[in-house]
């Protein structure tokens, strides 16, 4: 879901990065792979498996080699250079594969296994370099000082709240698109979304917001959601819902009382 052929890094970096990504992912996979498996597949085998899965689940829109504009969807973007993180984000949150070519991919129940997603990610990463799947150290919000979390809040309000609202309740975008709520987003989702810019969301790359700041922002979001509220939050949408409830619950209840007050008591 990125614009085609990004030119961000030196060409030599691409091979190195792919190799590194393969190593890291392969290594990680080896660690998390079920103990019952007889032999962990090699990175090459995983890429091959990813290519198979890609051909079945993705190629009809994104093209057989991920070049975009496939048979079923001419507007599907090229996946060359979107990186493993992008595939991981889109598939884990159920945005991809899309059921229909909507203007915006809605998140839904993911039907792929972690192993399948990892394989496809690895395959797509082999097509061209892009952001790799982050390791927990890059997004884990724990262990930050209060001051760092407060700065994370400032960064969140500067960079995110314009679309996603002050506490991540989501908001409207042009032409029927929306910025989704962040209330149930996992830390890794937020990190991957910032780094890959899914759909219309811009990229927030580490040139401006380093991993440490991303962690602060995730920590802020977590902590702000854990804040005790002063009553029901009415959707966390701001003054519009407050006005609505003021009329309905406030004036509405008072008018019920008014009806009681002005109605004559029961007569014979």
């Amino acid at each position: 879901m990125r614009s085609p052929t990004p030119k961000r890094h030196h060409k030599a970096a691409r091979l190195l990065l792919v190799a590194a990504a393969l190593l890291v992912t392969g290594g990680l996979y080896a660690v998390v792979a079920p103990a019952t498996s007889v032999a962990a597949p090699t990175p090459e085998e995983t890429v091959a498996r990813g290519q198979e899965l890609f051909a079945v689940s993705c190629a009809s829109c994104h093209g057989l080699n991920g070049e975009g504009a496939g048979l079923l969807n001419e507007t599907a973007p090229s996946l060359i250079g979107v990186g493993a993180a992008s595939v991981d984000f889109q598939m884990r949150t159920g945005r991809m594969p899309m059921a229909n070519p909507y203007a915006q991919a809605p998140n839904k129940q993911n039907t792929f296994t972690a192993e399948e997603i990892a394989a496809i990610s690895l395959y797509v990463a082999s097509l061209g370099d892009g952001p790799a799947i982050p390791d927990p150290g890059q997004y884990d919000p724990s262990g930050l000082s209060a001051a760092e979390v407060a700065v994370g809040g400032d960064l969140f309000r500067t960079n995110c709240s314009a679309c996603h609202n002050f506490q991540g309740s989501g908001g409207a975008l042009p032409n029927g698109r929306v910025a989704p709520p962040l209330l149930d987003a996992e830390p890794i989702d937020i990190h991957e979304a910032m780094r890959t810019g899914p759909g219309e969301m811009p990229v927030f790359a580490d040139g401006a917001i380093p991993d440490k700041d991303v962690r602060s922002m995730i920590a802020y979001l977590d902590q702000v959601h854990a804040q005790p509220s002063a009553g029901l939050t009415l959707g966390g949408l701001g003054p519009v819902s407050e006005g609505f409830w003021g009329w309905v619950a406030g004036l509405g209840i008072l008018m019920l009382f008014a009806t009681w007050i002005t109605k004559k008591a029961a007569r014979k």
Binding site: A146, A147, V149, A150, V151, G153, D154, R157, T158, S161, A162, C163, H164, N165, F166, Q167, S169, G170, G171, A172, L173, P174, N175, G176, V178, A179, Y220, Q223, V224, Q227, S229, A230, G231, L232, T233, L234, G236, L237, G238, P239, V240, S241, E242, G243, F244, W245, G246, W247, A249, G250, L251, I253, L254, M255, F257, A258, T259, I261, T262, K264
Partner: protein, 574 residues
């Protein structure tokens, strides 16, 4: 103030003289009342006021909600001023709320956090204050609509209506000033909007902007200045106008809805002491209690989530409080009109929806009573309320205005509409651009038709009674519904209204109910308007028609009256 000159012989009095316990009265006169009366002549007033009649209707309590919310605002507002610091000086927050520690902010915002997190009950009072503000304006508007639709603004109450319009405008400004004080992200965004709005005023825009903000936005003066406006200037004016509003209400005595025994010359209701005093006093506590419960159970304006004002930050769902929503909506849906004239820029895309619409919102209600009186030529006093259906043009106009306001208001939440209903923001905006003009026209036509059919229903009920739900088979095989006659009380209520004639062009003709002052001519436009206004009704049945229908209906229950409802065409010809 006048006192009752005599007593209506038809009507039983609340307390007849023989019932009153003379010894009790005597001891009261000698006790506290006597002590006070020796120094201040209260019994002269009490004699007239204590048994003053106040009519009962739920809609008469809307104005009370506004009054009581205002009192709640004064009480809770005083509490908040104990800690609030109206200062834009920058500090680094080191308070209780961990997620803001180390963030630079104004003292105004920091003290708002202190009230919310460090003062026990502070957050509760803040939330009560904000809910009361929302209720205050809501109740004023609802009260104004009640007065409008029942025609209670007519002579002699036009001045009180004007005071009410002034109260509403002041209430909105007061609310906006309060919304701006905490210096959180929403209030700062709101102030930035006001800065742009003021700057767009043709000719004097930048001057007004620099004078109000003490230079460029945001500067460091606007919050202290708004604080003065919020806690001194406008509350003072509100207090004065509320007093005048109440004094005129007492002097004019309350209007009442039509009904048996209710006349232009009397007022029927509960005595001020004790029943009405208990009800009004009890209602104050109910309004206060409900507002406290709202403050306890419904979070409002969580400034700690918005953060301090930062000119580079904004949040989705940046909206003003609901009562400024119609202006916000107009500013959202206006096309981007900007003129260039002799080297100057005229920003109609802000001035027109902002200042123009706010002006219209003040002026239209203010002139309406006088326009209607001019059209009808009606110079008589009115103390019996209209049923809205009996003034179909007024009611339709009111609903059209409400529709227009409501559509502008909805436009102010076009982003929320788009996300909550899964539609396109751009389409919502474009549809609203048409609807704000088409909606009121449709609303007018539909409302008028509804009013007329309700009048028809009244007409039918008076002549033929109410549907009994009993289906009777005719000898010839047809079916019809038997009708039960309605009570005399209801028949009176449905037929008591006056049907003023339209003004005529010819100045000599002295039609009933129409008198002209020295030599004033009725122009043809005015006569046309008057005819249009007066003819929008179904004539009520005459005494003869009722007598005839009653005679016909004597056998109704035995035989089952074949009564056919008029067709649409017949209804439309009236």
């Amino acid at each position: 103030m006048a006192k009752p000159t005599n007593v209506d012989p038809e009507v039983p009095q609340g307390v007849s003289p023989e019932k009153a316990d003379t010894s009790l009265a005597a001891s009261a006169a000698g006790g506290t009342v006597g002590w006070v009366d020796d120094r201040v002549p209260v019994s002269g007033f009490g004699r007239k006021a204590l048994r003053k009649a106040f009519p009962d209707h739920w809609s008469f309590l809307l104005g009370e909600v506004a009054l009581y919310s205002f009192i709640i605002l004064l009480l809770t507002g005083v509490f908040l001023t104990i800690w609030f610091k109206p200062s834009m000086a920058e500090i680094e927050y080191e308070g209780t709320y961990a997620l803001m520690r180390g963030i630079p902010m104004s003292e105004a915002f920091a003290s708002t956090l202190e009230i919310s997190f460090d003062i026990r009950g502070g957050l509760l009072i803040r939330q009560i204050h904000h809910w009361a503000a929302i209720l205050f304006v809501a109740a004023m508007i609802a009260h104004m609509l009640r007065v409008f639709f029942t025609g209670a603004f007519r002579k002699p109450r036009e001045l009180n209506w004007l005071i009410g319009v002034g109260l509403l405008q002041l209430g909105m400004i007061e609310g906006f000033a309060g919304y701006s004080l905490p210096d959180d992200l929403l209030s700062g965004t709101g102030l930035r909007f006001v800065d742009g709005l003021i700057r767009s005023i043709p000719i004097v825009g930048t001057w007004a902007e620099f004078f109000i903000f003490g230079g460029e936005f945001p500067g460091e003066l606007v919050i202290p200045r708004l604080y003065m406006v919020h806690i001194l200037l406008i509350p003072g004016l509100l207090l004065a106008l509320v007093s005048a509003h109440m004094a005129l209400l007492v002097y004019h005595k309350h209007t009442h809805f039509p009904g048996p025994g209710r006349k232009q010359t009397n007022v029927v209701g509960q005595a001020l002491f004790p029943v009405y005093a208990a009800k009004a006093g009890g209602f104050f506590f109910i309004v206060f209690g409900v507002t406290i419960l709202m403050g306890a159970l419904m979070q409002i304006n969580p400034v700690w989530l918005y953060g301090p004002y930062n000119p580079a930050q904004v949040t989705a769902g940046s909206q003003p409080d609901w009562y400024m929503g119609f202006v916000e909506g107009a500013i959202r849906i206006i096309p981007n009109w900007e003129w260039h004239l002799l080297g100057t820029t005229w920003s109609w895309n802000i001035a027109l929806p902002g200042l123009g619409l706010m002006g219209l919102f003040a002026i239209l209600p203010a002139i309406y009573p006088f326009v209607e009186a001019w059209i009808t030529g009606d110079k008589s006093e009115h103390h019996i309320l209209d049923f809205p259906r009996n003034a179909p043009n007024r009611t339709a106009f009111g609903v059209a205005a409400m529709t227009c306001y409501g559509l502008f208001w909805l436009s102010g939440g076009n982003d929320i509409l788009a996300t909550q209903f899964g539609v396109s923001l751009n389409q919502v905006t474009e549809v609203m651009r048409v609807l704000v003009f088409a909606g009121p026209v449709i609303a007018f036509i539909v409302t008028k038709r509804i009013c007329l059919s309700l009048q028809r229903r009244d007409h039918e009920r008076v002549l033929h009674g109410s549907s009994s739900g009993v289906i009777v088979r005719q000898p010839d095989g047809g079916y019809s519904e038997a009708h039960a006659p309605i009570t005399t009380e209801e028949a009176f209520t449905l037929t008591q209204h006056h049907e003023p004639a339209a003004l005529e062009v010819a100045p000599e003709t002295d039609d009933r109910g129409v008198r002209r002052r020295g030599g004033k001519q009725v122009g043809s436009l005015r006569a046309r308007l008057s005819r249009w206004f007066a003819h929008g009704r179904i004539a009520k049945p005459t005494a003869e028609e009722i007598a005839e229908a009653a005679h016909h209906g004597d056998h109704e229950l035995e035989e089952g009256d074949v009564h056919e409802l008029p067709t649409e065409e017949e209804a439309a010809t009236h």
